[in-house]
C-alpha cells in the first residue's frame, strides 16, 4: 500500500516558512523521504535560480491541485514534458534575452526539452493588488492574449507544459518589497503569478507555472536567507522549467498508474490557512489533516471553525513524526504521557 502526502503552503499570505523564495523546499525534501508520493505545488518547490530534484515529488499548479483534491482530475506521474515558453509582449528585449539564455542553458546543461517560444500579441498588463487581509492578489489586463499564446504553443509546437514569463511592475511599494527581501511580510508578486498560471491550467488542463520578469534590484546587504534565492541571477526561471519538465499531466479518467485524491493519506497545511479549496475537499475524505502552528501566516483561518478535523502540531519536524506514525498505523495517542484506559460502551 502506498502512502501519499499533500503539502500545501499557500502563496501570497506571508507564510513564515514558504512565503519567500522556495523556502519550504527543505520541508518538502524531508517529507518526501517518508512517503511514496509527495504532492505539492510551485510555491513550495520554486527557489528562483535554485531547485532540488525530488524523484517522488509531484509539482502540481494550484488550480490543478484544487481539481485533483476535488476528485475531478487525476495526476499522471513520471512525465517527460515538452515545455513551451510564453513571453509577455511587455518585456523589454534585453530582459527577454536574459530569459531566453536561461532557457537555452536549461536545454544545454540540464537536457530539458523546450519548444520554440511565443510572444503574446499584446502586453499582459499585470496589476498587483493587496487585499484587506494583507494577502497579495493581482489581475491581468489582457488574459485573452495570454490564452491565445498558449493555444498557439500547444497547437504548433506540441508543448504539453507551459512556462509564462510576464513583465511585473517595478513600482512595488518600497516598504512592502524591503520587508519581503528582509524576510518578513508578504510576497507582493505571488498572488498575481498564481492568477496567470491558473488561467492556463483552467483552460488547457496542462501543467503551467509562472516566472516574473523584473528589472534587477540594487544590492541590499540585509537580505534574508529566506529571500536570497531571488538575488542570485537575472531571472526566476530555472526552477519553473525544471519543475514543469517533470510535472504530472492532468487526466480526466483513471489510468493504470494515475493518482487520485482518494489515494491521499495526509495533508499538511499551515494552521492559520485552512480555508483553501483543496483543504476543504480533502477534509471530507479518509485523509489525515495536519495543521502546523509554527508556520504562521497573515491569515487567521484555523481548521476548527470550518469543520475540518485536524491534528495540530507545532512544527514541520513534528508533522513528519506524525506522518511516520500514521503511515505505520501507530496510535498517535501513545505518544502522549497520559493514555486513558479503555471504557465500556454505554
Amino acid at each position: 500500500m502506498t502512502y501519499n502526502v499533500v503539502l500545501i503552503v499557500p502563496t501570497g499570505i506571508g507564510a513564515a516558512i514558504g512565503g519567500y523564495a522556495g523556502d519550504a523546499l527543505p520541508v518538502a525534501r524531508a517529507m518526501s523521504q517518508i512517503c511514496d508520493r509527495l504532492i505539492t505545488h510551485p510555491n513550495v518547490m520554486n527557489g528562483a535560480q535554485l531547485y532540488w530534484p525530488i524523484s517522488n515529488a509531484l509539482y502540481v499548479e494550484g488550480y490543478g491541485l484544487d481539481q485533483f483534491a476535488k476528485g475531478k482530475w487525476g495526476l499522471q506521474p513520471d512525465q517527460q514534458n515538452r515545455v513551451g515558453l510564453i513571453f509577455d509582449r511587455g518585456i523589454e528585449p534585453e530582459l527577454r534575452s536574459r530569459h531566453l539564455q536561461v532557457a537555452d542553458a536549461t536545454r544545454a546543461t540540464l537536457g530539458l526539452n523546450l519548444t520554440d517560444y511565443v510572444i503574446t500579441d499584446q502586453p499582459l498588463n499585470v496589476e498587483l493588488r493587496t487585499a484587506d487581509s494583507g494577502t497579495s492578489w493581482g489581475t491581468i489586463g489582457n488574459p485573452d492574449s495570454l490564452l491565445r499564446a498558449a493555444e498557439k504553443l500547444i497547437d504548433e509546437t506540441k508543448a504539453n507544459a507551459i512556462a509564462v514569463i510576464s513583465r511585473f511592475p517595478d513600482d512595488v511599494d518600497t516598504t512592502v518589497l524591503t520587508d519581503y527581501r528582509h524576510g518578513s511580510g508578504v510576497d507582493p508578486l505571488s498572488g498575481a503569478e498564481a492568477v496567470i498560471s491558473h488561467l492556463i491550467v483552467r483552460q488547457f488542463h496542462i501543467p503551467a507555472a509562472h516566472a516574473p520578469a523584473l528589472s534587477p534590484l540594487p544590492l541590499d546587504p540585509e537580505i534574508s536567507p529566506r529571500s536570497a534565492a531571488e538575488e542570485i541571477g537575472y531571472t526566476f526561471l530555472p526552477c519553473v522549467l525544471v519543475g514543469l519538465s517533470r510535472a504530472p499531466q492532468f487526466v480526466q479518467q483513471p489510468t493504470l498508474d494515475s493518482i487520485w485524491s482518494n489515494q491521499v493519506n495526509a495533508l499538511v497545511i499551515p494552521a492559520t490557512a485552512a480555508g483553501g479549496s483543496a483543504a476543504l475537499s480533502l477534509s471530507q475524505q479518509d485523509c489525515l489533516i495536519i495543521a502546523v502552528e509554527e508556520n504562521h501566516t497573515l491569515l487567521q483561518v484555523p481548521p476548527e471553525p470550518l469543520g475540518i478535523k485536524a491534528i495540530r502540531v507545532n512544527s514541520y519536524l513534528e508533522a513528519i513524526g506524525v506522518l511516520v506514525a500514521h503511515r505505520s498505523g501507530i496510535n498517535l495517542d501513545c505518544f502522549r504521557p497520559n493514555l486513558s484506559s479503555l471504557q465500556p460502551l454505554s
Partner: protein, 57 residues
C-alpha cells in the same frame, strides 16, 4: 475576458464540503471562479470572508 478581484461573505456551513459549495455558488454569481481562499472567519457571526479572482467574458 476580464479578471476581477472580489470579496464575499459566506455563512459557515455544517460541513467543509457544504461550505466549499456555498462559496463557489456565491462566486459564480459574479463570474467564473479562478482562485479563491477564505481570508478570515468571524465565529460570532458564523461567517467566512472570501477573497477571489473571477473572470467574466
Amino acid at each position: 475576458m476580464t479578471t476581477h478581484f472580489i470579496t464575499a461573505e459566506i455563512d459557515l456551513q455544517e460541513s467543509p464540503i457544504k461550505l466549499q459549495a456555498a462559496i463557489e455558488a456565491e462566486l459564480e454569481k459574479r463570474g467564473e471562479p479562478l482562485r479563491w481562499a477564505i481570508a478570515s472567519v468571524d465565529t460570532e457571526k458564523q461567517t467566512a470572508q472570501v477573497e477571489a479572482i473571477v473572470t467574466t467574458k
